[in-house]
């Protein structure tokens, strides 16, 4: 795996660009641990100072250093996105593998549920969830809610892979050697499915960060937790844009776009690497 990553990094332009962008974003988020100011604290620096040597991204109208605030925000956003992605991957893998391997009625039922989730517009549902939990709407709860909405598309993908795996010889062999369904799925099929899961993870992180930004900006999340979304929320509360405090908006938006593009590039290059077809065409197999 490491070798693959190294190769990808050296020879795949998309991957290397994506990796550099994401490393940059991760580095910024890790910098939060070095922040001289505690997260969320207001009036610790002079307000509305434009970018300068002391405050490279300027300071905002709440008396916070935009750069350090951004380090917390991107850390929380990334953690959030990753949590949603991992949870929803878990559902997608379980549903996809089970459905594909077991087949029959189980498959029909699972896929019916799956297709139901595919067409659900997530935004009204999340708004409903917020509607119930508002008082207790926490980071973790939102992550769970989003994970419940974000798995269906990829479960179908994994199911189709599992379907093809089922007919492979090693499955029959494992079956004859007395392995249980769970064992077969976990030990034999999972490794084949993991690469595609990795690629979809990147997309899912993108999706959940984007949705979190949207919900936060409307004020449907816990605005005390610094995330990219709540940063923009507070900037809007202070009408940073018309007040000329453009750096309060521009840097979070810029950083979040870098994150999106970086994750997207990683996913694309992983997909390209995984898809034997494009790998083949890239290598130009001799006929």
């Amino acid at each position: 795996m490491l070798r693959i990553l190294k190769d990808l990094f050296r020879y795949n332009r998309e991957f290397s660009l994506g990796a550099i962008l994401i490393l940059l974003v991760v580095a910024i988020s890790l910098a939060s641990f070095l922040s001289p100011y505690p997260s969320g604290m207001q009036y610790v620096v002079p307000f509305d100072a434009p970018p300068s040597w002391d405050h490279p991204f300027g300071t905002n109208s709440r008396g916070q250093d935009v750069f350090w605030q951004l380090t917390f925000a991107i850390r929380n956003s990334l953690l959030f996105g990753t949590a949603v992605a991992l949870l929803s991957r878990l559902i997608a893998i379980v549903v996809g593998l089970t459905s594909g391997y077991v087949g029959g009625m189980v498959d029909s039922v699972l896929m019916s549920i799956n297709d139901t989730f595919v067409v659900f517009p997530p935004f009204p549902i999340l708004v409903l969830v917020y509607f119930i939990f508002k008082d207790h709407m926490s980071w973790a709860l939102l992550a769970v809610a989003m994970a419940c909405l974000g798995w269906a598309y990829d479960a179908r993908l994994i199911r189709s892979m599992a379907l093809s795996l089922r007919t492979r010889e090693f499955t029959t062999q494992s079956l004859f050697s007395g392995m249980s369904t769970g064992q077969i799925l976990a030990e034999e099929h999972l490794p084949y499915v993991l690469p595609i899961v990795f690629a979809t993870t990147m997309n899912n992180i993108n999706w959940s960060i984007g949705l979190e930004v949207t919900l936060s900006v409307i004020g449907f999340t816990n605005i005390d937790t610094p995330t990219i979304g709540t940063m923009i929320y507070w900037a809007n509360q202070h009408t940073a844009l018309v007040a000329g405090v453009w750096w309060w908006i521009a840097f979070p938006v810029g950083l979040v776009i870098i994150t999106f593009v970086g994750l997207y590039l990683l996913s694309v290059s992983m997909n390209e690497y995984i898809d034997p077809r494009s790998r083949l065409s890239g290598m130009g197999g001799a006929a």
Partner: protein, 334 residues
């Protein structure tokens, strides 16, 4: 034909299931909310006057009866479904006694218009350019389009709408940034009204198209670069079949089937984008209505909108799925 009938039946069954599950979720979620519409109404009514507890109790009972909230959850559930069957979601609690369906019908055309225009443009443009880019892999302008599309595609709708609004409404203020038509322009089949609607829709549509086109472009390009390696394309090339004919009838035509299926599957996400864009541009569609309903604690309206969006999206997906076999001769037998 029998196979198709069976397919229609199965697919329609799926649709019914989606709608049933979706509306149930909407119902139970809203009824689990801590928001009490009666409290909200009393709070609004007594904001400017003193009210003693007896008076409050009097109002409370009157409202409970008025809003039709008597009975336990099960009874309300039955009443609810009986109403839904008649496309009636009861009176809005925040705009009492206006029926929820009136409010939704008022907003739906705007969302539908915005969403369908933006989707058609981004789907068409994305597929056309993506198809060309996949076929003419060395074309520099198309490569450039690819880079731009890849850069724009992962940006969430909110951020894109916001950027577009800032650019064309503030930095370079050339287009209206709020509303659906000019103030005091009567709605009607007049040229002035259409011009105004068109002008007001430009920015929302633009922001949706900028994000949406990218995904279709990238998908189509990848599909086409796979399809050009298909035997029938190689064979047609060997046969000296006309280039445009190959591109359109062989490459695009085959890729389109996948892209139409993709459209059905991503309607939910597209709907999401449209709703959020409406909020940014103050566009009078379902998205804005939903946010307002949530703010007002009007759960009749919230259920109505959530159910309508689920039905609408599922129905659109159903239509596409039913049309698909007519496009693809292979699906007809399957």
């Amino acid at each position: 034909m029998a196979a198709y009938a069976l397919y229609v039946l199965r697919r329609s069954g799926q649709f019914v299931l989606v709608v049933f599950v979706g509306i149930n979720i909407a119902f139970f979620v809203t009824h689990a909310t801590p928001i009490d519409p009666i409290t909200a109404a009393i709070a609004a009514a007594t904001r400017f006057s003193q009210a003693d507890p007896q008076a409050v109790q009097l109002t409370r009972e009157a409202l409970r009866e008025l809003y039709g909230l008597q009975g336990n959850l099960w009874q309300q559930y039955v009443v609810f479904w009986m109403r839904v069957a008649r496309a009636d979601f009861g009176p809005s609690l925040s705009a009492f006694p206006t029926p929820v369906s009136t409010l939704i019908w008022r907003a739906l055309p705007w969302t539908f218009g915005l969403l369908s225009v933006a989707t058609l443009i981004s789907w068409g443009l994305g597929n056309l350019l993506g198809g060309l880019a996949g076929y003419y892999r060395r074309n520099v302008p198309l490569k450039l389009v690819g880079v731009v599309a890849s850069g724009l595609q992962p940006i969430p709708n909110y951020v894109m709408a916001f950027i577009v609004l800032v650019l064309f409404g503030y930095v370079w203020p050339i287009l209206p940034i709020t509303g659906s038509s000019q103030i005091n322009l009567p709605q009607g089949w007049t040229l002035a009204y259409f011009q105004s609607v068109f002008q007001h829709a430009l920015l929302p549509v633009l922001s949706l198209v900028l994000v949406g086109t990218g995904a279709w472009f990238i998908g189509m390009r990848a599909l086409v670069s796979n399809i050009v390696t298909e035997d029938y394309v190689a064979y047609a090339e060997l046969g000296g079949v006309d280039r445009w004919r190959i591109l359109i009838s062989y490459v695009m035509r085959n890729a389109l089937l996948t892209q139409v299926t993709g459209l059905a599957l991503s309607l939910g996400l597209i709907f999401n984008g449209a709703v959020i864009t409406e909020v940014v541009f103050g566009y009078p569609g379902l998205g804005n209505l939903l946010i307002r309903a949530v703010y007002a604690g009007d759960y009749s309206l919230v259920i109505g909108i959530a159910s309508t969006s689920i039905i609408a999206v599922a129905f659109a997906a159903l239509v596409i799925d039913l049309v698909l076999p007519l496009l693809d001769p292979r699906v007809r037998v399957a």
